[in-house]
Symmetry: C2
Subunit: 709 residues, 2 copies
């Protein structure tokens, strides 16, 4: 019969408080609690976690720290399992808390109480995801979309008239762009705004069911106004999509005449937001409700715009709303970091199977497969963290007006369209891997991962469907390519150098001019050690983007001369590869940012470990696309095998530093809110090991049948 | 001003009923509604959907049809968004409905009112997933785990005493195997059952927190008994894990003395099941409560077993519970089929962007990328469907006793460990792709996909963690390999032929004897057309498994002679590749089953289309592992490129048949329950197109600004 003393104390108190340190039943015979695996060999580098943490916080570190302190407060946090109706009301109240705390006005004009600080605003906003993604996104709807549309598409009258109510949340509003029938193709929305010269009003109308506005936050319940996107029609001409400020509900929350709607109901996540549908039947708004920065209608119905091209005007207007994509990139990266912090902390404490010893079970993260599942995702999360800070700097430069040319804006939009898909997909994959790597525990809401994954699911398709965004990037790459070689002969096109992009991309870090070394790369990379070389990795990654784009451009060169349908068919036959080329471009941007981040790291130990992590990221990309490198003769079969072998070595080297690397993200227990990352698992393992050690020492452990024979 | 007559009728009635056929506002000018893309060219094959549907239903077609009729009834279906507490009670009531309908006793003995029909039982059980995965899994807990443990691990006394109450649901019960501290490594669970000769009782005890039973369905609320797995200790010897029947709660639902527990609370899905934790403090049960088929204790405490080896005994006991893995393979495949039916139906109706025409937007499924996202998953789902039916036949042969040798059982377990990981992961990937491919609509609970994904998430780690299962498969492959060459010299091992597996695997379909042709394969596959050849695909897939296993075995050959810790380290350095080899083996099993299914297809049109689909599956696997084929010289770079080019061609060929191929799964609107797959999207598209066509015809469509210039 076993000694029950200790057991009784633990089981009768339910789950032991996580803060109680592990205390073996019998100190004398307790198994030695193993130190967490770490870089203990004298020649092994050490990570300066505090300094690295500060570096990861990036340009707006202090704003992020303050935002995290805010997010650590239970009043702003999600209550897992809260019913939808209550969750929606809670998040609305949380928005009011944010207003009271002055946390959400940073991007608005100084004259209205803001700070004209666009980068800092996004940095703070992103951190809300760790409190509750619904809070992040509902804030985004209110101030980042509804408010930002008034700010960026409107002019002084609109700012003065509506921004104060929007900023104070006196006027919760919807951003009524997407329709049931048109999401990605905004230019084709069906809602019309027809100018009536007689009354000097616009008539907002929904001509068919597919033109209902749909999936709009604040539409189902809380919105009392909306920025409605509609085809502006005056004098029988459709001037394309413009934005109109339209009141929705009266003081009692009832729809105003001509307006109707539906609740989108329960969703896969983000249920703290009241998404819904809206439709308009000849709803009249004053002429002045047109947000007229990029297009105006005079009282007599004459249309005017500072941008003559309707196409460029449309993209300029949409471009002012790029901040949604910026912030999703940051928030998705934060969610991935939280997931990895939970899974790696647990993987460093949890034990299962005793392959190497008769008594000690293995720590999960000591298994090669477990390392393979989590550490490459950690490397990607680091790459994204560095890339995001650069992205945000670029955003801030454009929106502050410091660097705000057409080219700057187009570059910003291309970067957004490149990074947002990769980071939002990465977040979902990482959350899923973290869920599976933590087993049944990971499936419990109390461990956070499943809730985050449910909420972030939609990040892959809202603010631009990821595949559509990557296609935009690809088209930009093709355009740059054709500009480059517009007058060149076919021979000059044989090697593609994206000089134009390199000149323009943020911090000079787009595609790089490397043609001179690429041709003979296959023969110069002669050993595994070269794979570690920064330039080797850069060349491999850059070459792939360039070659893919050049190949596709070559195949499409004659398509322009074809009839429209045939040209579209030719394009379509290359669509998948185009999107893969865009992905390769985005991966390169991330790798470049990681490499620059590395160059900023001064502590030698940290730098060594980060170099391994960057190599893992870079060579992970090469391994993922290994077939391409082999087919195109960039790597020999022997060298290709070395990639995988070297990745295995990097995993072994990085494994002792995994905890440091997630700790550097800087999330506290209040941010993680996952029981399995609270130390509870370590406590359970220590208790179990102490129990067996005590019984072994006392000779009271029953003998296994096997050993009796 | 637009004509509002039609619009008003649609918007004022909320969402139009899906059954109302689309009716353009003005018949004369309505745009011609395009027929759904189909095989209309005279030489294009036609799919016999009804016959194919019957084939997909497999061996137990009639039982599946009956089960689907049952699952079509709202009383058995999930109510999306129902709060956890209500959902749990609803599912319990649904279990009672199943009992009343005589739907769940098929596997039990005839003398107790069952049918001794193991295969049919699983077939019916799997179909419950389309009503509510919680219903499937809670049924599985009650009859497939708790009941099956009594049936398969118990003997006549246990059957007579407990099965009637289990079958009738008078006694809901838990299957108390997993502990907080041990999931995958069942052999290491901490709960003890110590025999007390004085009272002829077992004392069930939980020695530490990690040994609490955890994640058990029926434990939080409804279970009034449990089969508890514990280390059987008698006369100071631990005979390993055995199962004990243990009453849990009294008539009022209160825990019996010595028993305690906790509710696991909200989970990422499956919230219709009351998962919870249990712990035992010196709980005494009569000696007879040991389920003693494979191990017994005499009144005097003497242990006996028909299986002398403790290891083999343990695996034999666990093996009787393989049906959980069987049924997850089938249910996951069904969920993937539902997801694809929804996404492909929507993709065939939804339009976005008009690249090819000035007036008509493209149907989503006409985009190459959209085909790339969905059709390979359709091919995999077909492969799984065929593989699952063979798997279930094998299961039925073993459990009916028709083919029930040790080898049969081991083969069955290996197949289960191979197929369950692939199909459960595939379901998650497919549900996610379907979610993204249906955009914002896919995120709404009303369209089913997100709820299914949340519920199926845990399928990847319960009933055996997928990675752990694949490692089991890999170990079996290594064992077969080493048996094969135990006495062979190194030269003979240079080419690995898994003859033993080929002899033993179900229906003779495991790895095949192909060594003679593999060596020179690289030079014989000379053209794209050869990639279509069944034997070429078989050789490519088989060769990869064989070579991977041989390579790893070669690296591990000397490891056995090393000290335990060093041997474990050597194994661990190959763990990732081992698991990938197991995955390759499982993929081959699926491919072989698909190929055999094809051979059963008599209708020429169906057979042609299925051949393309099988080729897409086979070549998709080759493409996924293309780097391996290149590195190992099995495909030249030119031929490797042909793989991708041919896949692109297959996608074009299959695209017109996509709807037929999902329709053949046979799910009705009552099973799909997704508004976007109800025809509502087609109706919206038709209405919008008719609106524009009418205005164009009447000359009232506003002129685009662009065309004015």
């Amino acid at each position: 019969m076993v000694d029950t003393a200790h057991r009784t104390t633990t089981k009768n108190s339910g789950e032991r408080a996580a803060t109680v340190p592990a205390k073996p039943a019998n100190d004398e015979v307790a198994a030695p609690v193993p130190a967490p695996p770490a870089a203990e060999a004298p020649d092994s580098p050490k990570v300066d976690v505090a300094a690295l943490g500060r570096q990861l916080l990036g340009t707006w570190a202090d704003i992020r720290i303050a935002a995290r302190e805010r997010a650590a407060h239970p009043d702003l946090q999600r209550i897992e399992g809260q019913p939808m109706a209550e969750h929606r009301e809670r998040v609305l109240k949380q928005l009011k808390i944010l207003v009271d705390q002055g946390a959400v006005h940073r991007a608005f004009p100084k004259e209205l109480g803001g700070l004209d600080d666009h980068g800092g605003n996004i940095a703070a906003f992103e951190e809300l995801v760790i409190a509750d993604p619904s809070l992040q996104i509902k804030s985004g709807v209110q101030w980042g979309l509804f408010g930002a549309a008034v700010l960026h598409l409107g002019t002084e009258y609109h700012h003065r008239t509506w921004l104060p109510g929007i900023m104070s949340l006196e006027v919760p509003g919807a951003f009524a762009m997407t329709e049931t029938g048109h999401g990605s193709d905004v230019a084709a929305i069906g809602t019309t705004a027809t100018y009536d010269e007689a009354t000097q009003e616009f008539v907002i109308d929904t001509p068919f069911r597919g033109a209902w506005k749909d999936y709009l936050g604040n539409a189902a319940l809380h919105g009392i106004a909306a920025v409605v996107f509609a085809q502006l029609i005056t004098k029988g001409v459709n001037h394309g999509v413009h934005a109109f400020y339209v009141p929705l509900r009266d003081g009692d929350g009832a729809f105003l005449p001509g307006i109707g709607g539906e609740d989108d109901g329960l969703k896969g996540g983000l249920n703290g937001i009241d998404n819904g549908r809206l439709h308009f039947t000849n709803v009249r708004v004053p002429r002045e409700n047109l947000l007229n920065r990029y297009g105006d209608v005079a009282p007599d119905g004459t249309y005017s715009s500072p941008i003559p091209s309707p196409g460029r005007r449309f993209f300029t207007m949409l471009g002012t709303l790029v901040q949604g994509r910026v912030s999703l990139d940051g928030a998705a990266t934060a969610a991935a970091a939280v997931a990895l912090t939970i899974a790696i902390t647990y993987g460093n404490q949890r034990r299962q199977f005793n392959a190497a010893s008769d008594t000690d079970e293995e720590v999960l993260l000591d298994y090669q497969r477990h390392q393979r599942r989590l550490l490459p995702k950690l490397a990607t999360t680091y790459a994204q963290t560095f890339a995001h800070d650069e992205f945000l700097l670029k955003f801030d430069a454009v929106f502050s007006g410091r660097a705000d040319t057409d080219d700057d804006r187009q570059d910003l939009e291309t970067i957004a369209a490149a990074l947002k898909p990769l980071s939002t997909w990465h977040a979902l994959e990482t959350l899923q891997e973290a869920r599976e790597a933590t087993g049944g525990a990971g499936f419990l809401a109390e461990n956070r991962i499943v809730g985050l994954r449910q909420d972030l699911d939609i990040y892959a398709t809202f603010e631009g469907d990821n595949n559509v965004l990557l296609q935009l990037v690809a088209k930009r790459l093709l355009t740059d390519y054709s500009k480059q070689f517009a007058k060149a002969d076919a021979g000059a096109m044989a090697r593609y150098v994206v000089a134009q992009t390199a000149d323009r991309a943020y911090h000079g870090t787009g595609l790089r001019r490397l043609a001179q070394t690429i041709a003979d790369f296959g023969s110069t990379a002669r050993s595994v050690s070269e794979l570690r070389d920064t330039n080797t990795q850069r060349e491999l990654l850059t070459d792939r983007v360039e070659t893919m784009v050049a190949d596709i451009a070559g195949r499409l060169r004659d398509a322009r001369k074809l009839p429209k349908a045939d040209a579209a068919a030719a394009f379509n036959r290359n669509q998948n590869e185009l999107i893969e080329a865009a992905r390769a471009h985005a991966e390169l941007l991330q790798w470049e940012a990681f490499t620059r981040g590395l160059e900023q790291t001064s502590d030698p130990g940290t730098r060594q470990v980060l170099t391994w992590l960057r190599d893992l990221f870079g060579l992970g990309l090469v391994e993922k696309h290994l077939a391409w490198y082999l087919i195109h003769g960039r790597l020999s079969p022997q060298r290709a095998q070395a990639v995988t072998a070297y990745i295995d070595r990097l995993l072994e080297r990085l494994r002792p530093h995994a905890q440091d690397l997630v700790d550097a993200f800087g999330y506290t227990p209040e941010h993680l809110r996952a029981k399995i990352a609270s130390g509870a698992e370590q406590e359970r393992q220590d208790e179990a090991r102490a129990y067996y050690a005590a019984k072994r020492a006392a000779g009271t452990l029953p003998v296994p049948e096997k050993s009796k024979k």
